[in-house]
Amino acid sequence: MGHIKGLKCRECSREYPVAPIYVCEFCFGPLEVSYDYKSISKAISRKKIEQRPQNLWRYREFLPIDGEPQVGLSSGYTPLLKADNLAKAIGATELYIKDDTVVHPTLSFKDRVVAIALTKAKEFGFDTVACASTGNLAHSVSAQGAKAGFKRFIFIPASLETSKITASLVFEPNLIAIDGNYDEVNRLCSEVANKYKWAFVNINIRPFYAEGSKTLGFEIIEQLGWKAPDNVVVPCASGSLLTKIWKSFKEFKDTGIIKELHTKVFAAQATGCSPIVAAIKNGTDIIRPVKPDTIAKSLAIGNPADGFYATQVVKETEGYGEDVSDQEIIDSIKLLAKTEGIFAETAGGVTLAATIKLIEKGKIKPDESIVICITGNGLKTQEALQGHTISPHYIKPSLASFEEALKNIKG
């Protein structure tokens, strides 16, 4: 049932067979999955998709597997919420939140990519999966790997916050806490990946893993009634999610699932780590690496692997990019919570704050449809809000004390 043709270098177009490889032997460019779109067009229709269970595998023809889905059978198909309260607050008219704070099982969009990566790892015959991560990816590989019966090695910097370590440890992976910073963890992982025959989801399985992000884009189009939005705002770390959302929109167009596509794609980053947005604003496609300094840690990649491709998508679609301060991130997390009842992680604050600026600057027209991608749950990054929330009303256990407090409460 697979529709994969093979792997292809994004830089020099050299072709490779389907295998757990990720980099072009010649020019070191990243490898990407290529498909036979003619056969996909024949195999798929809106009706067929609609009849399938509500999870990310309903778009399976566009995903790089050969057999049946094996992991993440309840992942994906998160709500697309019409956000009227928020729209009013920020001067938009038709605003939607793609709410990936509630992806099953670990509450971030990483559950999408890990579902595909682990299914592919099974197809390749691996018994061990691994990743280097400081947060969402570690949680997802730990959890989904447990259910799928893999041995799991999760590499983290030993200095991580206790709450983040606990959220991985509960699944009992082999958690390797390294006496070093995140760069050193990454470097060690690339050496481990060379030596041990394991499926490193974001290294040797990356071409397949990254394709999982497309499901977020497919869902947006289906949930809008088989229509692409006028504007979509996407948070950028490596830039992969942004390029894959655009790829998903184009694939639906190219295979006849939708007829029209005029979406503008916008990139959102924190000012303390904005190499992609800086390139967009400077009108260049040269990504200058930075040393990250932001509370949006899940977006803090100073040397983004897909940054160049993200700038190309923004240029091609006539979108733009915006970067925001830590204070703006916090304010936007609170605004989203107050208006729509959604608690987003710091990356979600980045995306909303950038959207507000893009509307203010006229880059996004307020009378057009806007989709904001919220990619992770705020319960995971609560420390970012410490000292920035309102306080409880402390009272004695008596009605009198309650009514005394009530005098100070306005509404």
Binding site: F28, P30, S190
Partner: protein, 96 residues
């Protein structure tokens, strides 16, 4: 003392298995072209039209040349250059 250049594993086939080779001093791109004289084919792998390929990181004494003058950054005798293929999704990496 010439410029020392550390060669990553995927390119050691071109350097007869050597992990470290030597070059004349000069701009990064001049170093790359000098390497190519002794190890034909290496320049094509890491550069294109006088520019370092997008997915190759070059460090001069442990600092990314993109924080300096890119291809025009000058390496002097005694300096050490590391050539490191960027690995998709990774953060800044110092050595391999």
């Amino acid at each position: 003392m010439p410029v020392k250049v550390r060669i990553p594993t995927p390119l050691q086939r071109l350097t007869q298995g050597k992990e470290e080779v030597e070059s004349i001093q000069g701009t990064i791109i001049a170093v790359v072209n000098d390497l190519d004289k002794n190890f034909p084919g290496i320049a094509e792998r890491i550069s294109e039209n006088g520019k370092i390929r997008r997915f190759v990181n070059i460090y001069l004494n442990d600092e990314d040349i993109r924080f300096m003058n890119n291809e025009e950054t000058v390496a002097k005798d005694g300096d050490e250059i590391s050539i490191v293929p960027a690995i998709a999704g990774g953060a800044i990496r110092r050595t391999l």
